[in-house]
Subunit: 327 residues, 2 copies
């Protein structure tokens, strides 16, 4: 049996995205299977069944990596708190993956850590070893890589950059605090801000009309389109969110001084509307002159990053295991 195939899987609340291929090139097959919100075992069974359909009869998975949102204890293989998949809390993810893919080397990672591993190997972080990633989704996730290694943290709590507080009197965040980066630069925060602005008497007619028309269907994409069409209120919305993102990034540059910072997630599709003000603000905050021009770049792999990164982490894990097994 050929065991050189590598699988990466990224568990979301609705779907598991996977990437499958030879060795450290997981892009040969990609797709998704439904997540069972109550059972990782059933979900991994579906994934194994799909993989079996795709592979030639003599092939087997040599390494399988799993990315999952929440506190992932990479030492025990267990999943801690994970707000979007409460039915999975406490599960022995490493053990269950080992049952679904017998004989494979199993790697686990938090989803944003996996996305950073993917960007570092295949995307915006290539040739970098000291990287920070921010994933601007509904919330804001973060990940830190130092000397080529993901920082898990002493209690698996590193990378929660979305909950660094930029203003103790700022807008409320889902975590219970105020003024977290997530409250400014996650889509939940941005949409709330758009609705606040639309209700203000001096709001542009364009933003007011958009918010009224789209109602609960409003997206950050709608807002970015309006800002690109020169609506002043929508432009101010992204400029201020970009400045807050820049405050958080500038703070990180002062603490970590990485090679570069990668900004991903759906909200990052707003591009320069957000990244322009972010770069300006960050450069003003950074003390070390040489670090003021640290590249702040968009992610390149989109929503495939975590599955690709999980596959890469599994390939690394297999390579590290192999010499031990030989001895």
């Amino acid at each position: 049996m050929n065991r050189s195939l590598t699988l990466g899987a990224d568990v979301g609340g609705t779907y598991v995205k996977y990437a499958l291929g030879d060795g450290d090139e997981p892009g040969r097959w990609t797709g998704e299977v439904p997540t069972d919100p109550a059972s990782p075992a059933i979900t991994f069974g579906r994934l194994a069944a799909r993989v079996a359909e795709l592979l030639p009869p003599d092939a087997g998975i040599g390494a399988a990596g799993l990315a999952c949102a929440g506190i992932v204890d990479v030492r025990t293989g267990r999943l801690g708190r994970t707000p979007n998949l409460p039915g999975w809390e406490g599960a022995d993810l490493a053990g269950l993956m080992g049952i679904a893919f017998p004989g494979a080397a199993i790697a686990l990672a938090n989803d944003v850590n996996a996305a950073l591993a993917g960007e570092a190997r295949f995307g915006a972080g290539r040739n970098g070893s000291d990287l920070v990633m921010l994933a601007l989704g509904t919330g804001v996730g973060g990940a830190v890589m130092i000397e080529g290694r993901l920082l898990a943290g002493h209690r698996f709590g590193a990378g929660e950059i979305g909950h660094t507080i930029l203003d103790v009197a700022g807008p409320p965040c889902n975590c219970g605090n105020r003024g977290c980066l997530e409250a400014y630069a996650g889509s939940r925060g941005l949409l709330a801000d758009a609705r606040r602005r639309a209700a203000a008497p001096d709001c542009s007619p364009g933003l007011r009309a958009l918010v009224a028309e789209r109602g609960d269907e409003l997206t950050t994409r709608n807002l970015a389109d309006l800002a690109t069409a020169s609506d002043s209120a929508a432009a101010a919305l992204f400029r201020e969110a970009g400045e807050r993102l820049g405050q958080a990034v500038g703070n990180l540059l002062n603490v970590l001084d990485p090679d570069r910072v990668i900004i991903g997630g759906g909200v990052a599709a707003a591009g320069e509307l957000l990244l322009g003000p972010c770069r300006e603000t960050a450069a003003r905050i950074v003390l070390c002159e040489a670090a003021r021009s640290t590249p702040i770049v968009p992610a390149q792999l989109g929503s495939a990053a975590a599955a690709f990164g999980a596959a890469h982490l599994a390939a690394i894990h297999l390579a590290a295991e192999a010499p031990r097994e030989r001895s």
Copy 2:
């Protein structure tokens, strides 16, 4: 000649503190020599002369470590920007130390990095490998250790935690920005805040009298004594500074999740006046439940930390060099 002796030196604007001893135990002789603000060569010559007086005739320095404020390029051995010793900027510190201590293994570090190395080996960081240190002096310095290694940063700009911005509308900082941690928790910021509070109509008579009486001689020690004597305005001053320190520490815990956080520097002598509110605020900010009780502890080595740490870094450097030289 006995080359097992190790020297650590910490360059300040007025004095060079040194620690000298056997191998990795630098506490046998400690003291200071004057800094020449225009010439590192003259300063290192003074240090070498003092060392020669202390040592038995057959002894020599096997390893010498130098700690210096500012941007220390540990790759080239050169000193970059260093506001308190402008006459030293651009100096080849490693080369000049090599001339003053011929044959010794030379190690260089930024002063707060060296202090963290000292606390990690001999003080509040013992048995820890993932540590953050904040040094609350006139300004606020910082240092980060990950897996036992000091984080220099990609452009030697890491650890500038004092210039992470906690409130863009906060009090002015020496760096030109507003609301940096340094503007709240460095002595310059604290004293400015005390004077602002003393001028307010609702100030306590005690603080108003202290500020008037001490004038330019006012110290954070005076203020801490007043707060300990239950003066409400002085207590509020430290509580609010402690809360800002807690915001910065909580943010760091969310990003790095270290073993523990060490708070040193002269302002930290205020002890629980500052650390109590700091711990409470940090615990509220940390997202990862397990990380909420991360120890936030006072430094133990006082102003000797950087010289001890520089000696330790030199001893490590010598140990790493030795096998190479033998081969």
